[in-house]
């Protein structure tokens, strides 16, 4: 118990120092701006940016924009799972297919697919469908690769137990392979959903459509400096909360497994 407290203090003090440094940096920036050492037309006052948070929530209907981004995120996230996990399972089941296509899928993960957004605009129009299809294309590779990796890393002793119990292939998959692969599958889900979030907000910003990405674009085009910075801060906040939640769920899944 005492050790745990020491550990907590060991982390707490640096974290507090880090937070104080960040707040201090904003304080220094505020002073530099107020004394006109930095041009206020380029960087708004941090206090103005803080004030703009409330304004954009009310005036720019942030909640509706969040709903739109969440809808695109949700559809993409579900479809990525529904498409990615079965493909990963098929690649596990057929060894030659996995050897043939695994490198291509890994290359897909590194490819700058988001650059093809003009092509997707032509194919699907300037609509949520484009955002969703592009996000699925961006997020699919990690979940496929991690599902295959998870299924392949099932301990042979568990498979032998299944064989000795004469389980059918379906029973083997749902009772042994899938539960064993779940932690790695969830790592794939976390990576895929992170890619999906980046893609959804990025494409919204690029094609000026929909939710939070468009909000930044709108405010920047109106030259609402404080609003633009606040909107960027809001998107960062949403991304960080989303990422922290995913990490937490991944840890819980790992512990249970």
């Amino acid at each position: 118990m005492h050790m745990a407290n020491v550990m907590k203090n060991d982390r707490l003090i640096p974290m507090l120092c880090g937070a104080l440094c960040v707040v201090g940096a904003f304080g220094v920036l505020e002073l530099l701006l107020r004394f006109d050492i930095i041009n206020r037309y380029i960087v708004p006052l941090p206090s103005d940016v803080l004030g703009a948070f409330g304004r954009i929530v009310v005036e720019e209907d942030v909640l509706a924009r969040c709903r739109e981004t969440a809808y695109e995120m949700g559809v993409s996230a579900i479809l990525v799972i529904l498409i990615g996990i079965p493909i990963g399972a098929v690649l596990y089941r057929f060894d030659s297919l996995r050897k043939a296509l695994e490198d291509w899928i890994a290359a897909l993960a590194a490819a700058p697919i988001v650059l093809a957004f003009p092509l997707f605009l032509v194919l699907f129009g300037r609509s949520s469908t484009t955002v969703i299809v592009m996000s699925i294309a961006n997020g699919l590779a990690p979940i496929i690769l991690k599902t295959t990796e998870g299924l392949m890393s099932t301990r042979p002793v568990l498979i032998n137990v299944g064989k000795s119990l004469r389980l059918s292939q379906r029973q083997m998959f749902w009772s042994i392979l899938f539960p064993s692969a779940l932690p790695l599958i969830f790592t794939g889900i976390r990576l895929s959903w992170t890619f999906v979030l980046i893609s959804v907000v990025g494409v919204e910003f690029l094609i000026n459509l929909g939710g939070l990405g468009q909000l930044i674009n709108d405010l920047a085009e109106r030259y609402d400096m404080a609003g633009t910075y606040a909107a960027i801060g809001f998107v960062i906040l949403v991304s960080v909360v989303f990422f922290v939640c995913l990490e937490h769920i991944e840890r819980v899944m790992g512990r249970r497994a």
Partner: protein
């Protein structure tokens, strides 16, 4: 060969057979994709220009490759990516060395870098335009920002994995921070740094090109948008394929470089 265990000899033909099957599957998949594309292009199910014939796309690639405008835009994008990679890498390595060398600094500041790294970087583009204008500097700054996070995290992680004996040897010789960095830290962290540069290269390419598509009057991203606005689909496909190939080649070269250092 004569010393190889019996089990290895028995395994070899099966491995070879599997590789042959894998190559065959690749060839069949590629052939199916090409045939499927051509059927779709000629079927009239979609607008003719939306899915052009592969023959037209290849012809457009040929025209692009001999077009001087392509090379002038390529040189601008290459310059932006190289500058972004250089600036982002240097700043990331310095930050990574500072953070990674101290458990206190790591606990204080690394979470900010870690949690900022998966945010969509393109949203910072309006800020970069305000700071650096609409020319190349804003694209370089955005690219540098993108690879900074990857580089800093990779270097900080590499710092923590350096053999403590090496650090103690450096300190026993009373090496300055500069000497410690160039004689001990950097040589010991070759692999994580090269891996960081490889990942940073990918993000720098994407962000610089996306920024060019958003607001620019030069570069490959600008060229993509010009072609899109003319609705010249075969050339759009051709340019995207060329960009994907170039990005893949850059990634492969850096990957091979990182692999050779292991």
């Amino acid at each position: 060969m004569s010393h190889a265990p019996l089990s290895t000899l028995a395994y070899l033909p099966k491995a070879k057979k599997n590789m042959h099957t894998a190559h065959l599957i690749r060839a069949v998949t590629l052939a199916l994709l090409i045939i499927g594309w051509e059927i779709l292009a000629r079927s009239g199910l979609l607008l003719r220009d939306v899915v052009p014939s592969l023959v037209t796309i290849i012809a457009s690639m040929g025209k692009l490759i001999i077009n001087p405008l392509f090379y002038s835009n390529l040189s601008i994008t290459s310059f932006e990516v190289i500058m972004a990679l250089a600036i982002g890498s240097v700043l990331g390595i310095i930050c990574g060395i500072i953070i990674g060398s101290s458990a206190f600094l790591s606990a204080a500041f690394e979470p900010y870098i870690y949690y900022m790294s998966p945010t969509p970087r393109i949203i910072f583009f309006p800020v970069m335009i305000m700071w650096f204008g609409v020319g190349s500097p804003s694209k370089i700054a955005l690219g540098a920002l993108s690879c900074f996070f990857t580089m800093a995290l990779s270097t900080a992680d590499g710092m923590r994995q350096i053999d403590k004996v090496l650090i103690r040897v450096g300190r026993s010789f009373r090496a300055s921070l500069w000497h410690m960095a160039i004689k001990i830290y950097l040589p010991a962290m070759r692999t994580p740094i090269l891996n960081g540069i490889r990942l940073g290269f990918g993000t720098a390419v994407i962000t610089a090109l996306l920024a060019e598509t958003k607001l620019s009057n030069q570069g490959l991203g600008f060229m993509i948008m010009q072609i899109y606005s003319r609705f010249d689909m075969p050339t759009l496909y051709a340019l995207l394929i060329i960009v994907f190939i170039l990005a893949g080649l850059g990634n492969a070269v850096l990957g091979a470089l990182a692999g050779s250092q292991k």
